[in-house]
């Protein structure tokens, strides 16, 4: 008991320190290197420092975006894992991110084609609708497909279908505004503005607060529906809560940064390993912190590794996190045999 709670405390402290360090490193490193002192000065008063404007108007939103959205993505993955009662679940591998992407692309092309400007909220709402539709498909498949691994294969296929349709949509819409869509549709924080950051932070913070308020029934749900019902949990309500919260979180990420691969499935697994507990009250903040760290780190690599060329963030997260997913699939199979 005590050793676990000490472990949790140390885990949170270490991750917080890592996140702060990564924040300053990411602010400083890039096409122009800036010292820590200059970063702090420019955060206080951007006009005083050479390059201060670059930091505050370009790097800062991107970095906060990576922190908030990376955290949101991991929490979304954790909620999906609770919902399906299985660690092999996440918004990307179940095709939810790609479906959200398709709906965002469709509404962009449709509205831009009519000369309507798109607000951040419209992006989120279209992504949310896309997420819910994919979730409905995955849920109906899960009635038929008992094996989680098979469900993931189905999810990946849904993802491919959605990505293919998105490519068609983007290719046939020759508006210059759509050019940006290409970067975004592969997953990238490069186009994110301070306006996006504000909207996504508000949504994500509200969703996380709700998740924490529901952590008690979510924890009961981890014991399976029947025992949760016996504990007094309203099963219908908690299922709806899990679907809505996981969808709104992953939809917000997709709306502003496109689909980011494997963070949602791998981070909760890594956090369970670090914290040695699966309690939602610990896992939700831990997944948020862990997701923020990993996403910020991967985004840093995406923009600096082959500078001045940027690579998509999914390319980086895939390299680091896909092996974790493979490990999960293999370990799971062994457990089933034993």
């Amino acid at each position: 008991m005590d050793s676990i709670s000490r472990r949790i405390k140390i885990g949170f402290i270490c991750m917080s320190v890592m996140l702060v360090c990564l924040f300053f490193i990411s602010m400083g490193v890039g096409s122009a290197d800036i010292s820590v002192m200059d970063i702090i000065k420019s955060l206080v008063n951007p006009g005083d420092v050479y390059m201060g404007k670059i930091i505050v108007s370009i790097r800062l939103p991107r970095i906060i975006g990576a922190i908030v959205l990376g955290g949101a993505l991991s929490v979304s993955g954790f909620l999906l894992q609770v919902f399906f009662g299985n660690p092999i679940a996440g918004p990307y591998v179940l095709g939810i991110s790609s479906s959200a992407k398709l709906f965002v692309a469709l509404s962009m092309v449709f509205l831009l084609g009519r000369g309507v400007n798109i607000s951040s909220l419209v992006l989120v709402v279209s992504a949310f609708v896309g997420s819910l539709i994919a979730m409905a498909i995955v849920m109906s498949l899960s009635q038929k497909v008992r094996s989680m691994s098979l469900l993931v294969v189905c999810g990946v296929m849904i993802g491919y279908i959605c990505s293919a349709i998105t490519e068609f949509v983007v290719a046939f819409a020759d508006d210059t505004n759509i050019v940006n869509l290409h970067n975004w549709s592969l997953g990238s924080f490069s186009g994110i503005s301070m306006d996006h950051v504000v909207v996504s932070s508000v949504i994500v913070i509200i969703a996380i607060v709700f998740t924490i308020l529901f952590s008690k029934p979510i924890g009961a749900f981890q014991l399976g529906e029947n025992y949760a019902r016996n504990m007094g949990v309203n099963i219908k309500r908690i299922r709806i809560v899990l679907i809505l919260l996981s969808s709104i979180l992953s939809a917000t990420v997709t709306a502003f940064a496109g689909p980011i691969s494997f963070v949602g499935i791998a981070v909760p697994h890594i956090m369970r390993g670090i914290m040695k507990t699966a309690k939602p009250l610990v896992m939700v903040p831990a997944c948020f912190l862990g997701g923020a760290i990993i996403t910020l780190f991967c985004d840093g690599i995406a923009r600096t590794a082959f500078a001045p060329t940027e690579i998509s963030i999914s390319a980086v997260t895939s390299v680091f996190l896909a092996p974790v997913v493979i490990y999960l699939l293999v370990a799971r199979k062994e457990a089933a045999r034993g």
């Binding site: 924490i212 924890g219 009961a220 014991l223 029947n226 025992y227 019902r229 016996n230 007094g232 949990v233």
Partner: protein, 263 residues
């Protein structure tokens, strides 16, 4: 006499298919009632209908005189605890954590355990004799120990009714005796009404105040163990050859007398 649980003209089944009609069972505080019958006779169906896993197809379930349908989820949770055959697969939970989930209806919004919750948890763990494994990972203990923990979990839920579905199946002899001993003591000291299904008829006389025998699509016989466990009834319930029921019964009663002395 007030009944902790009363099933009134209950029809149970899966979906639209009725398995048992017109089930009338009542259990008083401190009383143990055993449900017996062949595989697939509908014992689990009755128990799952009480716990809400299955929708009832007719009739009423009364808990302490109140219609269960009119009660809140939380009040039902405080009235009925359960140990079912379904295995749970909690991740990274110690035995203490699993038992603690029984306190769910009593904890606050975020589920933090108060001192009263903790003492109820420790008391329940002591009652089932699982104090040594309290900090072990639930997924790494034996079936027998797991059943003890699930029983402790149900005990600390502090409900007036406990429903158990074959709590002794797949356990070795000593674990069977242990588990049934705990159930018996718990029913007596905490005044809990126990409704359980069981396959091992030899344990029934030692533990049951009342026995309900299921056959066909209805309650076939109800009464004391002496009234129910007769050769004729066994032949009917388990579809045995004529005459074989009496052969079984003579041995059964000998064995159960020995068990009675141990429990």
């Amino acid at each position: 006499m007030d009944k902790s649980i009363q099933l009134s003209e209950l029809n149970v089944g899966y979906g639209q298919t009725v398995v048992l009609n017109d089930v009338n069972i009542s259990v008083a505080p401190g009383e143990i009632v055993c449900l017996i019958g062949a595989n697939g006779a509908g014992k689990s169906t009755v128990l799952k209908t009480i716990t809400g896993q299955l929708k009832k197809l007719g009739g009423v379930v009364y808990l302490d005189g109140n219609d269960k349908d009119a009660m809140t989820e939380s009040d039902v949770a405080k009235s009925v605890s359960m140990v079912m055959t379904e295995r749970i697969h909690p991740e990274l939970m110690t035995c203490f954590d699993v038992v603690a989930t029984g306190r769910y209806p009593y904890t606050g919004r975020l589920g933090f355990l108060e001192d009263s919750d903790k003492s109820a948890i420790y008391e329940a763990i002591e009652m089932v004799g699982a104090s040594e494994i309290i900090n072990k990972d639930f997924s790494k203990i034996s079936d027998g120990q797991r059943q003890r923990i699930m029983l402790a979990r149900a005990i600390c839920q502090d409900a007036g009714v406990m429903v158990l579905d074959e709590p002794t199946s797949f356990l070795d002899l000593q674990y069977k005796l242990d588990i049934l001993g705990v159930i018996k003591r718990m029913a007596a000291t905490k005044n809990v009404a126990v409704l359980m299904s069981i396959h091992e008829l030899e344990f029934v006389p030692a533990i049951a105040d009342k026995v309900i025998g299921i056959a066909g699509d209805e309650v076939y016989v109800a009464g004391t163990p002496e009234e129910v466990l007769t050769g004729e009834n066994l032949e009917k319930m388990y579809g045995m050859k004529p005459g074989s029921g009496d052969v079984i019964c003579s041995g059964l009663w000998n064995y159960s007398t020995s068990i009675k002395r141990l429990l």
